[in-house]
């Protein structure tokens, strides 16, 4: 429990259809180095998982494939090296399947901060995009509403990187409805920079959460204002950090206090 605060499960949900070749090549070169630098600086117990998605038949044979979480970043690097970008068929892809697979099939740790980064250049099926072979809805039966609900229930915050304007609307909705952020990038290097910014910000929160948790464990009766003063932080930051800690079950409420 003591070290659970440092646990971060990070899943990349990546479109691996043909058009994504450039980004995957850039990720193969830069991603692991970036993650190693960030995790060492922030003392983070990181596990990395990958979900690749393409499209439903007959557009593509592979809908999605999951690569389980691993704390061995070299192993993750090998997985990234083995990703190949191909196929895809029509413009929209099996984005919804990718998110559902990440939420349901990856084994998230109980107390971990759960993050996913959705990377793609095409919208999901059934959201009104042109040239959609499944214009009435994705064959998986999911919608943006249902997958964001699933992500909220699984406590996964999804950030999204949209590599074309076509993905902007749906990726913005998926990220904002799960508490994440959307970034637009037109080039692979730009996408990696956004990732770096995003993870630095997330890991920055973790540092505050760690301090708040330590202070709370020392004195569970401490008020938010006292905490803010003790940690030289603002009331808003401390209060939000506490909610994150409750939500990760790192702080548990006395049974009698629950009004739920």
């Amino acid at each position: 429990m003591q070290d659970d605060i440092n646990a971060v499960d990070l899943a990349f949900i990546v479109d691996t259809t043909g058009s994504m070749g450039g980004l995957i090549a850039a990720a193969q070169n830069q991603m692991i180095a970036l993650l190693e630098e960030l995790t060492q600086a922030a003392q983070i117990d990181l596990r990395l998982g990958i979900v690749e998605y393409r499209d439903h038949p007959p557009q593509d044979k592979m809908v999605y494939r999951t690569h389980a979480f691993t704390s061995q970043l070299q192993q993750a690097q090998q997985t990234i090296r083995e990703l190949t970008a191909q196929g895809g068929g029509d413009a929209p892809e099996a984005v919804l399947d990718g998110v559902v697979a990440a939420c349901r099939e990856l084994r998230w740790r109980k107390h971990a901060r759960r993050l996913a980064v959705l990377v793609g250049d095409a919208p999901p099926h059934g959201v009104g995009a042109g040239g959609d072979s499944f214009a009435n809805g994705c064959p998986c039966g999911e919608t943006i509403e249902s997958i964001t609900c699933l992500a909220e229930n699984t406590q996964v915050t999804i950030h999204a990187l949209g590599l074309t304007a076509a993905a902007t609307t749906s990726f913005t909705a998926i990220s904002s409805l799960t508490g994440g952020k959307f970034f637009a990038a037109t080039q692979a290097n730009e996408a990696i920079q956004h990732l770096s910014t995003l993870l630095r910000s997330e890991f920055g929160h973790l540092e505050l959460d760690r301090r708040v948790l330590a202070a709370w464990r020392e004195n569970p009766d401490i008020s938010i204002d006292e905490l803010a003063e003790q940690l030289a932080s603002s009331r808003h930051e401390v209060s939000t950090s506490l909610v994150r800690l409750f939500s990760r079950d790192l702080i548990t409420a006395p049974v009698t206090s629950l009004s739920e």
Partner: protein, 528 residues
């Protein structure tokens, strides 16, 4: 937009409505098109502009005039009638100073003489440093300083020169700003102003002379006497004194207004004012005076709490000051519900909800219910004894162990109210608008409206998120809606929401604003 001669008729009509608002302020109004036909602006268009301006009240960071300026420019262009009424209303009711400066800047540079006239009057209410900021904004951002503005500033400065006490106070606090106004607009100061501001030869009866005495004083007793005798302001004196003793602090605090005590709380704390029993007692006395001082700003009190990190007792006193000030200003008479989105994406909403719950419960004179929801809902109940109103600490306790998790069904809270036959006339929803699970609010609303024979106004306080789908869905169904965005920790401007909740309905609030007349100079001043 009308052209040529029709434009003249349009503006005459506009000004007529501004000066005589009682002559008509229905929710739609008529303007003349270029071919003399009557054209009706849609209610939606009016509402969009008006709600956009009102929205900005909640999301205004201080001291960023240039970022807010486009909002004023756009509002003035799109709905000058409303803008003209909004300015005097905002001077009366608004809390964010930047907006007041922008109203003056934009009206003073307007093409309508009646707007310039109003700016002339409103400018006289500003402090010297605010007038200097208006001038800078007009020069740098708007790019013009009309002659009428120069006249307004000339009158402003002459009025202050005539009142030596007021002028000396202004010179102490804002000497550079006053010099800037005289120099930039090439206005000739009176002999006394010239001596104080430019020649650095303050006359013996002036406060600046007293400040010189203070700087020369050798003992703490002498310094304290000089401060008391001349009522030297804290911020001015503090720069002239090297070592602060409790006796000096007493002298300084005595010379302060309640608002100044609040503004300088962090500085006073740093100088040990809260550690000395007698000095702290004096501060408490000043704070007690603040509850009945109409000049005290609730926003500043809130910021003082944030910045100064005060001890519990002083913070409670200051919170009481703030609550009392808010309570003095508004009273919410309509039964109200606050819905708090606690879904997985809403870690920031819970703090905002606490703040809102505390503010609303301090001023409401009707039933008030708070519900937290994800895909299920429960009522957040606060435990207070007797007739006392719940304080922030009570809400803190009530929200203490609420987690952010689960999907989002905003409708579920309304369905619970329907099931329990709870009647409200307005619903405040703190959310990211990411409703993704049934029962959906729009459907629940229709059912509630039908069963309860009610049409509650909906006020969305959006925290995080970038989705507009939820509010767009409500608007499509004709549900009365206001929407505010709270970014980061800017929730200190939430008290402004109370004005809107206190108005019986949005259209009535617009009507209240439309009742405000454009200010005009007294006739004897116009003659001059």
């Amino acid at each position: 937009m009308p052209r040529g001669g029709a434009a003249l008729r349009f503006f005459r009509d506009l000004i007529n409505k501004l000066v005589h608002p009682a002559s008509g302020h229905s929710s739609t109004h008529e303007v003349y098109s270029h071919d003399h036909e009557v054209m009706t602006m849609t209610q939606n268009l009016e509402q969009d502009v008006r709600v956009e301006i009102l929205n900005s009240f909640l999301t205004t960071p201080h001291r960023k005039l240039e970022e807010l300026a486009p909002l004023h420019t756009s509002a003035l262009e799109r709905d000058p009638l409303f803008y003209g009424h909004l300015a005097p209303w905002y001077f009366d009711k608004g809390e964010v100073r930047d907006h007041k400066l922008l109203f003056v800047s934009h009206m003073a540079t307007s093409d309508y003489s009646e707007f310039r006239e109003a700016a002339w009057v409103l400018l006289q209410q500003l402090a010297p440093y605010e007038v200097a900021r208006v001038l800078d904004h007009m020069k740098r951002v708007i790019g013009k300083t009309p002659r009428s503005f120069k006249g307004a500033v000339a009158h402003y400065l002459k009025t202050r020169e005539k009142n030596t006490k007021q002028f000396d106070g202004a010179a102490l606090r804002a000497r550079n700003d006053l010099k800037h106004l005289y120099a930039s607009l090439r206005l000739r100061p009176g002999s006394r102003a010239q001596a104080i501001l430019f020649d650095e030869q303050p006359p013996e009866d002036s406060a600046l002379f007293a400040l010189k005495l203070l700087a020369k004083a050798e003992s703490a007793e002498e310094q304290a006497k000089t401060i008391l005798d001349h009522k030297i302001p804290y911020t001015t004196a503090i720069g002239a004194i090297k070592h602060i003793t409790p006796a000096l602090l007493v002298a300084l605090i005595n010379a302060m207004s309640p608002q100044e005590v609040i503004n300088n709380m962090a500085s006073l704390k740093r100088r040990g004012a809260l550690d000395d029993k007698d000095v702290k007692a004096l501060i408490d006395q000043k704070l007690a005076e603040a509850t009945s001082d109409k000049r005290v700003s609730t926003l500043k009190a809130k910021k003082a709490i944030e910045v100064a990190k005060l001890d519990e007792e002083t913070e409670r006193t200051l919170t009481e000051v703030m609550d009392k000030r808010v309570a003095d200003k508004v009273e919410i008479k309509r039964p109200t519900a606050l819905f708090v989105d606690k879904s997985g994406s809403m870690t920031q909403a819970i703090e905002v909800a606490k703040q809102l719950a505390a503010l609303i419960s301090a001023v409401i004179a009707a039933e008030f219910r708070v519900y937290a929801f994800d895909t299920a809902t429960f009522e957040v109940k606060v435990d207070v004894k007797g007739d006392k109103r719940p304080a922030m600490s009570d809400w803190e306790q009530a929200f203490k162990f609420i987690k952010a998790n689960g999907g989002t069904s905003i409708g579920v809270a309304l369905m619970k109210m329907l099931k329990e036959r709870v009647y409200v006339e307005q619903i405040v929803i703190v959310t990211d608008e990411g409703e993704n699970t049934a029962p959906y609010f729009r459907n629940a609303y229709e059912e509630y409206a039908k069963e309860m024979k009610a049409a509650p106004a909906v006020i969305i306080v959006q925290v995080g998120g970038a989705s507009h789908g939820f509010s767009a869905g409500l608007q499509e169904r004709g549900i009365e809606l206001m929407r505010y965005q709270v970014k980061g920790d800017e929730y200190y401007s939430l008290p402004t929401v109370l004005h809107l909740l206190a108005a019986p309905s949005k259209s009535e609030l617009v009507n209240i604003i439309m009742e405000y007349k454009l200010p005009e100079r007294p006739k004897q001043l116009v003659a001059k």
